[in-house]
């Protein structure tokens, strides 16, 4: 059958283009404009050139926050992806257990981010929180307000609790799409549980894992609300990630020029890392 070629499809794309223009392109252009100027308000701007970029790129504050972000994202991915796969593999594939498990898994995702932060802030408190109080009763010296390691552990556990469900649901969607014939063939061949996972389940989950990996990387790299509510970037600056630093700079100090320069650098880092992950994973997928 011969394909019909016309340009009507462009009109279908037009609403998305308009939406993206207003929600992303115009704000991005404005941030670029701010990043080369200085302002004291009242819509008055003074040319600063590349000064803010130099200031940000040569400051310890930026590199420290970036390092914290990269470490946080690496830990989150190292925990949530394997844990998500393990939980998805052990979820029931049929029967009443399926909807029960799916609802339970979806529950953390339905809670707004600031509420999650508040829950864990209270949960971790030594005086009234269940976690903090229990740990203290067990003789463990835990205080996320004063100890940087405790603050990091709290944030990591909170993020794992909040977002592993997303990885589970995506992996589960990949698993249930595998036809039974694959498992039957593996059974006839006497394949081990590991072989079934390695050669059937993992390849079939690859695409959803790519989505899960990218979503979790971008989200953890841009995390703001939960650490802001739980630790406010402290103790000291130990949990001050780039996003928190950015808000402190833009709203706390009203340094809009440096904050805009930091935003652009932050955006470019996210873009580069996402592109690398996407390219590596899609290329290995195509080769396999």
């Amino acid at each position: 059958m011969e394909k019909t070629w016309n340009n009507k499809a462009w009109f279908m794309v037009l609403p998305v283009l308009v939406l993206v223009a207003f929600s992303a392109v115009i704000p991005l252009m404005t941030v670029v404009n701010y990043s080369v100027q200085d302002t004291f308000g009242n819509n008055e701007f003074f040319w600063a050139g590349t000064d803010w970029y130099v200031e940000v790129l040569t400051s310890d504050r930026f590199w420290d926050a970036l390092t914290r972000n990269l470490i946080f994202s690496a830990i989150i991915l190292a925990i949530e992806i394997p844990l998500g796969i393990i939980i998805a593999l052990n979820m029931p594939k049929k029967g009443l257990g399926v909807p029960v498990c799916l609802v339970l898994m979806a529950l953390p995702l339905l809670i707004p981010w600031n509420v999650v932060g508040t829950i864990w802030q209270v949960f971790g408190r030594v005086d009234i929180g269940l976690l903090g109080h229990t740990l203290e009763a067990l003789g463990i010296n835990y205080n996320y307000v004063q100890n940087p390691i405790d603050a990091w552990v709290t944030l990591i556990v909170m993020d794992v609790w909040h977002w592993t469900s997303l990885v589970v649901l995506l992996c589960y969607a990949g698993l249930v799409s595998i036809p039974d014939a694959y498992y039957q063939a593996a059974k006839i061949d006497g394949a081990s549980r590991w072989s079934v996972f390695r050669y059937i389940q993992l390849p079939k989950m690859k695409r959803v894992l790519l989505i899960a990996f990218l979503l979790r990387f971008m989200d953890s790299f841009m995390i703001y609300t939960e650490p802001f509510v739980v630790t406010g970037g402290g103790p000291g600056n130990s949990t001050t990630f780039l996003s928190i630093d950015l808000v402190k700079m833009a709203i706390g100090q009203f340094d809009l020029g440096p904050a805009a320069a930091l935003s652009i650098i932050y955006f470019l880092i996210v873009l580069l890392l996402s592109w690398i992950f996407y390219t590596v994973m899609t290329t290995s997928d195509a080769q396999s």
């Binding site: 252009m29 404005t30 404009n33 100027q37 302002t39 701007f45 130099v54 650098i265 470019l268 390219t279």
Partner: protein, 94 residues
């Protein structure tokens, strides 16, 4: 319509006009020679000419950032020249 809230300057306007012209140019190139000219270059994965433009622009951004971070913002035209050489290299070999 008043766009003063966007705080436009001539250099940033020229920057975005250049990006827009590049995209229009790529559109015309695609119209003249459809298919995106996919090929496998030195990075050992398939790229179209749109991918190569993306890699060129992203790489150029980081060349400029590195120049600003390590060079203190002096003689930025050298960073631009390096970016052009890099982009030609990407379109030729990637």
């Amino acid at each position: 319509m008043n766009f003063s809230w966007m705080a436009w300057t001539l250099p940033t306007a020229l920057f975005f006009i250049t990006i827009a012209l590049l995209l229009v140019g790529m559109g015309i190139w695609e119209y003249v020679s459809p298919g995106g000219n996919p090929r496998i270059g030195i990075l050992r994965f398939e790229t179209t000419r749109g991918d190569r433009l993306f890699v060129s622009l992203l790489g150029s951004a980081f060349i400029h950032l590195a120049w600003l971070g390590f060079g203190g913002g002096q003689h930025l035209w050298w960073a631009l020249a390096l970016s052009v050489v890099y982009a030609v290299g990407v379109f030729r070999y990637v």
